[in-house]
């Protein structure tokens, strides 16, 4: 139980950080610690009913899943979020689904991820857009059907930070490029961190200019599927809450001999993009 012991120092660090920020957009500093609103939001009530009906959810216990999110988003267009498993992926009990929920975004269900024992670890990192100060949640469903939630209140940044992408033309020019990166040493039988990146504007299509009547047409990634050695290890349904150039870090467990990581990505116009990474001989 070292996790709860860590909290006070982490909290102190965050409060100190907030104190150092001379941002006029923030509330008075003394109110920082106290300005966390009730987590029982109207949006959560609706989403909870829609996704989970009356099933019980263990809230913020920290023993199955944790949420890694910044106290304050530096850039509202690119907010790093980590969904962290506290349990191993064993065939007997594993996390089979993770939902990433953002109360105040136009579509609060940002993503859902399906995982298997072959995933190795049910850890996912991605980046999201935030429309305003909001609760961000992860709900994990274990293979025994139990639900567990972790949540954090995230403040959006001041400045000119906006959820829109920075270079619309560059994003379109590179549209559909899919790239894998291995983030650690490939060791047979051990969960190994990898990353799949998709070049895509991931536009919401919800912004319209009142003067020019120009629409940014909706165009976003809706499905990402990663397989290793022919077996799906992560399958994600996502939407435009995910940042421009969607990016997912995940684990897989390399096996003896060669193996291939493959990604299949489908967007809202039913365009399909894919990529393959051949691992060759894995280490022994």
């Amino acid at each position: 139980m070292s996790f709860p012991a860590l909290l006070p120092s982490a909290l102190r660090r965050l409060v100190a950080l907030a104190g150092a920020l001379a941002c006029a957009a923030l509330l008075p500093l003394a109110a920082q610690a106290a300005d966390e609103p009730s987590p029982d939001t109207e949006q959560w009530t609706g989403v909870r009913q829609y996704l989970f009906a009356d099933r019980p959810i263990a809230d913020n216990m920290g023993d199955v899943v944790e949420l890694d999110a910044p106290f304050r988003a530096e850039d509202a267009a690119v907010v790093p979020i980590g969904l962290k498993a506290k349990v191993d992926q064993t065939p007997g009990r594993y996390i089979r689904k993770l939902w990433l929920l953002v109360d105040k975004n136009p579509t609060p269900i940002a993503a859902s991820f399906e995982l298997t024992p072959e995933s190795g670890r049910a850890d996912i990192e991605t980046r999201i857009r935030l429309e305003e100060y909001t609760w961000v949640r992860v709900v994990a469903e274990t293979s025994d059907g139990q639900l567990h939630m972790a949540r954090k209140f995230v403040r959006a940044a001041g400045g000119c930070s906006a959820p829109a992408g920075k270079d619309m033309e560059a994003a379109l020019a590179r549209l559909g490029k899919v790239k894998f990166k291995l983030e650690g040493e490939v060791q047979q039988g051990k969960p190994t961190l990898a990353q799949v990146m998709v070049s895509h504007p991931n536009n919401s299509g919800m912004q319209m200019d009142q003067v020019t009547r120009l629409f940014v047409p909706p165009h976003y990634i809706r499905h990402v599927e990663v397989a290793y050695a022919g077996k799906v290890i992560m399958s994600a349904d996502v939407d435009f809450s995910i940042s421009e150039n969607p990016n997912f870090r995940f684990y897989f467990t390399p096996q003896a001999g060669s193996g291939e990581l493959t990604a299949k990505v489908v967007d809202s116009k039913d365009l399909t993009f894919s990529s393959t990474l051949s691992l060759g001989k894995t280490g022994t």
């Binding site: 530096e74 690119v78 829109a164 619309m168 200019d209």
Partner: protein
């Protein structure tokens, strides 16, 4: 640079009158906004604006960050000249340069309003965010009206003020994806918009690679003086200080990516260099933007 320059900045930035201008060259009038985040006590006067007076008419460059700055700008123009305003040029669509436009346009009735080609789309995608931000920061009763110029430039265009020519040039993605500069040939004054920050930490909302790639061309325009978007009027040294920061940011983020650091780790581990104002607000954001751009390299 930086400590001496930052100290000088603090002195010069001590709350200038909202309509104060200095004539930095014959017919070239510049207002230096405060190096600060927009707030009620500065009424959005947090960016530089300028106007250039020719024999026949006047061009105004940027509009400041509020209705108040738009009105102050119009008063400053009318205190100097009765000539008509033939053009209002907006260097880019960030709210601290744009929000004064409606008040300015109402007071001065510019014949043309000009920006870079991609400005309308960029502002369209951010309008709601900018309105909410301005309302909160300036403590307004209602969200401000945001208007954009109706005429756009791709590449180069010239404006004749009567015996005086201004050259407008749209750039590839750098500070934003729609940066526009104005060069006054008569005085060789460059109005760089936010392609140049002096003393105020550069803010990356476009492309780090694009900004670094185009900095030599901007510096090589051979301006006698450059009016930045934020901070005092500068010599070529301003470009060098800015490039040192941006190149340092690029190198530090590349190194973090090489070590397989996550975005969070890079943001936590890359410190801001000394000598710049506004680092608390913008450096970590710059690291975030640089990381999400540079991870696509190789």
């Amino acid at each position: 640079m930086p400590l001496a320059l930052a100290a000088a900045l603090l002195l010069t930035a001590a709350t200038p009158a909202p309509d104060a201008v200095s004539e930095v060259a014959p017919g070239v009038f510049v207002h230096l906004g405060q190096v600060a985040e927009a707030a009620r006590d500065n009424a959005g006067d947090t960016s530089n604006w300028a106007f250039v007076v020719g024999e026949r008419c006047v061009a105004v460059i940027d509009a400041g960050g509020s209705e108040a700055t738009g009105r102050a700008l119009a008063a400053a123009v009318r205190a100097r000249t009765a000539l008509p305003v033939c053009a209002l040029v907006i260097t880019h669509g960030h709210p601290d340069h744009l929000l004064g436009l409606p008040a300015l346009a109402a007071a001065l009735a510019p014949q043309r309003q000009i920006a870079a080609e991609r400005l309308p789309a960029a502002v369209a995608a951010r309008r709601g965010t900018y309105q909410a931000l301005a309302q909160r920061q300036l403590e307004l009763a209602a969200p401000p009206v945001i208007a954009v110029p109706g005429e756009t430039v791709n590449g180069e265009a010239a404006i004749d003020l009567g015996g005086r020519r201004l050259v407008l040039r749209a750039w590839k993605t750098a500070h934003t994806d729609h940066d526009l500069t104005v060069f006054d040939e008569a005085s060789r004054t460059l109005f760089a918009g936010d392609l140049l920050f002096v003393g105020h930490l550069p803010v990356l909302d476009g492309s780090l690679g694009g900004w670094l790639a185009q900095a030599p061309a901007l510096r090589a325009l051979g301006a006698a003086r450059t009016v930045p978007g934020h901070g005092p009027v500068s010599s070529a040294a301003g470009w060098d200080a800015q490039t040192a920061y941006l190149a340092g940011l690029r190198d530090a983020v590349r190194a973090a990516l090489g070590r397989h650091q996550t975005l969070q780790q890079a943001v936590a581990g890359i410190d801001a260099p000394a000598g710049w104002a506004m680092t608390e607000l913008y450096h970590r954001r710059n690291v975030t933007a640089a990381y999400s751009e540079l991870e696509w390299e190789d």
